[in-house]
């Protein structure tokens, strides 16, 4: 299963890649900007995208909005990663349906554990089966 990580913070990319690497079936690619990520998504087919909430230029939410209206990308599930607890509250307001941003299927708040990361990823992958 191909997984894409989009985060401007290099160390988070490496960290997630290392953690997901514990599961041999995952193939992880890391992009350092939303723009780079968009190109990568158009080139290859990904099962899930792990996306940082706060990024310069195009942030996580904006990228999700772009994906939501793109025929090719709107079905790729996204897990938003954030250091701010506010994200979960923002999404709770829309009854957990993530109405506004349809591609978002999960949230991961920093600092997370390996178990949380693997759990979220496999849950979202199962959701899309």
């Amino acid at each position: 299963m191909k997984i894409l990580v989009i985060d401007n913070d290099v160390s988070i990319g490496i960290t997630i890649k290392a953690a997901l690497g514990l599961n041999a079936s995952y193939e992880v690619t890391v992009c350092l900007s939303a723009k780079e990520g968009l190109e990568e998504m158009k080139k290859n087919e990904y099962g899930v995208v792990l996306l940082d909430f706060m990024m310069p230029e195009i942030n996580g939410i904006d990228l999700c909005k772009i994906m939501a209206v793109d025929e090719k990308l709107k079905n790729i599930p996204v897990i938003l990663i954030s250091a701010l607890p506010i994200t979960s509250e923002v999404f709770q307001k829309s009854n957990g349906n993530f109405n506004e941003i349809s591609v978002v299927k999960g949230l991961l708040e920093k600092p997370f554990s390996v178990a949380e990361l693997l759990g979220k990823v496999s849950a979202v992958l199962n959701l899309n089966k």
Binding site: S11, I12, I14, A18, A19, A83, K110, P111, V114
Partner: protein, 445 residues
């Protein structure tokens, strides 16, 4: 000399005249009685004489002479002078400028106290009196001052306003002006009385307080940002150490596994600290929405008996649960309430004696439930009790700290409980132990 003469001559005659008159009456009466004692018509004459003349004697006695009036006037004047001096010294003593100005176009200053003269930097009263009342304020305020004066006079009311005062040397300073119309004896407004307070000092205090507030805010903001910024590197340390641990297991290298455990443990500790700082800032922010839903607090405690017991195990302590039967519905975030109870129990274990019994007791009355955690420890010194629920309470004595942490735990407990309209507290007896408690209002089922 004149006074003495007046007093002597008039006063004596005034006292003598009625006495002489009375004596004359009695003499005449006795004469009549003796002369016409047995003549019936004499009674009529006696009566006639007495009644026609006696009142005039009384009038003479009671009537005050001009001299008396003069004397009284002088006494009154003396009293008035004394009162005037009294008020005048009071006015000059007042640490506020008191002045009056005429109700005319010039609004010339009528009087001002010593403090007012000094405050505005004038030499003396005459120097000050050359000014119109508008001259002692910054010219930019003219329109406002005139409008307010007119309003004051029209309504015959009192006004309080803030203006910019203008000293003789041109220095501007903030003032508060209390003014009220002065009425004459015919109830006409002859002028306006003003009390002027120099606000420079107060403004300085206010600025200092504002500065301190913003510094305090900056400190909170810094803590908050720092805590958030720590989250990303913490994620890497925690996750990578877990990954390393997995890999060392696969390699069969137990030594590396132990080292990695250490890294992981310390990172966890750091994470706890970061969480504490963030929880504190979140609950300090009154605008931040907090989760609140009804639940049974007794059921919550009962469902956590095992977890709570595990907290006491490392020091061989026992937990004695004295939980009431029935239900106690409260409205709060149950995770946060458990965090408070965990914190109380954790503290009781840490600060209490090893192998002690810690009692967890609930007390329910008509309006609230109270949860008490009692240890058998050393107790808390009375001088420390007051600050125990304050922010950074552990930092006070940083060199003699015996326990880890920065003293946010109990502070957070207080913030959590207070945000759900409850109370926290502690009772402690040295060498016997402490009881930490929190209470929450019960909601109707």
């Amino acid at each position: 000399m004149q006074e003495v003469f007046d007093f002597f001559s008039l006063k004596v005659s005034r006292k003598i005249v009625p006495i002489l008159l009375l004596l004359t009456y009695f003499a005449v009466v006795i004469w009549f009685v003796l002369r016409f004692a047995y003549a019936p018509q004499s009674y009529f004459l006696i009566a006639l004489f007495l009644f026609s003349n006696l009142p005039s004697a009384f009038i003479i006695i009671s009537k005050k002479s001009n001299a008396d009036l003069l004397g009284e006037l002088k006494t009154t004047e003396k009293a008035l002078r004394a009162t005037y001096k009294h008020w005048d010294s009071l006015l000059s003593l007042l640490p506020q400028a008191v002045f009056g100005y005429a109700n005319n176009a010039d609004g010339n200053i009528l009087f001002v106290n010593d403090f007012g003269i000094k405050l505005f930097g004038y030499n003396d009263l005459d120097d000050f009196k050359r000014m119109g009342y508008l001259d002692i304020f910054d010219s930019s305020q003219k329109a406002k001052i005139i409008a307010e004066r007119d309003n004051l006079i029209e309504r015959r009311s009192t006004a309080i306003s803030e203006y910019v005062g203008l000293k003789k040397d041109g220095t501007k300073f903030p003032v508060a002006l209390y003014s009220t119309p002065i009425m004459d004896s015919d109830d006409r407004i002859s002028g306006v009385l003003g009390i002027l307070i120099d606000l420079s000092e107060i403004k300085r205090f206010k600025d200092t307080i504002d500065q301190l507030h913003s510094l305090d805010q900056a400190k909170d903001d810094f803590l908050n940002i720092a805590a958030h910024e720590l989250k990303t590197p913490l994620t890497s340390i925690l996750v990578i150490s877990e990954v390393l641990k997995e890999k060392s297991k696969n390699l069969g290298d137990l030594e590396i596994g132990k080292d990695v455990d250490l890294v992981f443990g310390e990172a966890e500790r750091l994470k706890k600290l970061v969480d504490q700082i963030l929880t504190a800032t979140r609950f300090e922010n009154k605008h931040h929405p907090i989760k609140s839903e009804p639940f049974d607090l007794l059921a919550l405690i009962n469902s956590h008996v095992t977890t709570l017991k595990s907290l006491a195990e490392p020091r061989g302590s026992k937990l004695d649960f004295q939980v009431s039967s029935g239900q106690a519905m409260v409205s709060a975030d149950h995770d946060k309430i458990m965090e408070v109870l965990n914190n109380f129990v954790d503290n009781a274990v840490k600060y209490g004696a090893p192998k002690q019994t810690i009692t967890i007791k609930t007390i329910i009355n008509s309006s609230e439930i109270r949860v008490e955690v009692t240890d058998q420890g050393a107790g808390i010194e009375p001088e420390k009790i007051g600050r125990i629920f304050s922010k950074f309470s552990q930092l006070e004595n940083s060199f003699s700290r015996t326990q880890e942490g920065i003293g946010l735990g109990l502070y957070i407990c207080r913030l959590i409980i207070e945000s759900y309209k409850g109370k926290v507290g502690v009772k402690s007896v040295l060498k016997q132990g402490s009881t930490f408690f929190f209470s929450l209002p019960l909601i109707k089922k």
